[in-house]
Symmetry: C2
Subunit: 225 residues, 2 copies
């Protein structure tokens, strides 16, 4: 609150990657690492790694480097993985069910407490131990259970009053798989997974050289010569 010095999104986006590589190193029994060693396996400069870490503290030792496990755990704490996170799922289509079944989330402290759908065929059934409720019970559920994160996996056209219900709850974050940007109330953090955007980006990359050339030649005089 006093020192509201935000960390840049570029840094934050690298944290899970550090966590992943440190976890692998730790699993391989590597007790000690350094910004130089990490930079080689991660394709990030050693300087950037040290700068990134220094946003949060000093975790290394001069002349030695970093203790793999210690750094792994520290980054885990920065990412909030030392806490339990309670999730609910709204929308139990294929993607939603995939999330319910992905054990890796549970092992990192993210557990689905309930799921919601409007399909009669799904309501009352259970996926990986998680019960699917009628979505009409959503507002009531959220007012009687403390939930940290909502995973939103309903089709774009079926949102209805879901956003309102979430805004009136004490939910802290929304993991949004719907292919649109949704504004929630102040205080609710949003992380988007826009699959269509991702696929379009891949399509762009594939033809990038050709595309740049096309537009350079067409529109920029000097590019012809």
């Amino acid at each position: 609150m006093p020192n509201e010095q935000k960390i840049s999104r570029a840094v934050v986006s690298r944290l899970p990657k550090y966590y992943r590589y440190l976890g692998e190193a730790h699993d391989q029994g590597i007790k000690r690492t350094s910004s130089k060693k990490l930079s080689e396996i991660m394709n990030i400069t050693a300087s950037q790694i040290r700068q990134d870490l220094n946003n949060f503290g000093s975790f290394g030792l001069q002349g030695y480097g970093y203790d793999t496990e210690l750094l792994y755990n520290e980054i885990g704490k920065i990412l909030g993985l030392d806490k339990k996170h309670k999730l609910i799922l709204i929308g139990c289509g294929k993607i939603g069910q995939a999330l319910l079944k992905y054990e890796y989330f549970t092992s990192r402290g993210f557990t689905f407490e309930a799921a919601f759908d409007k399909s009669e065929d799904l309501i009352g059934t259970t996926v990986n131990g998680v019960k699917i409720h009628d979505v009409s019970e959503l507002a009531d559920y959220l007012s009687t259970h403390h939930i940290n994160i909502v995973a939103l996996t309903i089709p774009k056209g079926h949102i209805g009053n879901t956003v309102d219900i979430i805004n009136k709850s004490s939910v802290q974050g929304v993991w949004n798989f719907i292919n649109m940007d949704i504004e929630f109330r102040e205080g609710i953090k949003v992380e988007n997974v826009h699959l269509m955007d991702s696929l379009m980006t891949l399509s762009y990359k594939i033809d990038e050289d050709e595309i740049i050339n096309r537009y350079n030649v067409t529109t920029k005089g000097e590019a012809i010569k």
Copy 2:
């Protein structure tokens, strides 16, 4: 080739977003727009929008703005959406099947030609009209069919020689849902969907203020006063 002036990743990541908003405006019958109007609905500065577009050409008219449909189509072309893309799916779990069923991909020219899995229960069946083959036929399939993009949705531990097979094929891009960074041969473009990273990022955002405070107080002297 002559003017290999790469476009920054920051710009590229905004292109699908422009495409999305322009598509919505077009659907609403809005014939004409401007960097100012777009900036208001997209929370991007007008200046940045104009800079981004100018990487590819001049699509507007002074004093007028942009023709919604024209700009929509131009960005579509930049993203390669004027071409057909043939995909195959490797790994027919829940996420894979979700991809097979998502009609929006097809409507943008991305079609799944075949799917592969190792489960006896799935081989020979069909999901949304796409036949599931034995993964042992993958190398043979890729050598006899021209495929642009591979969607990789197998569990981390079951990769086997899949990467080798892809590297030996003429595939242009890999849409990777496996929670690890995979190096493919030169020329194959990769787009990652790291769901665990995404969820960790959300977890970070939720506790961001607290985390920054914790580390500031602990490690930075001046933050205490």
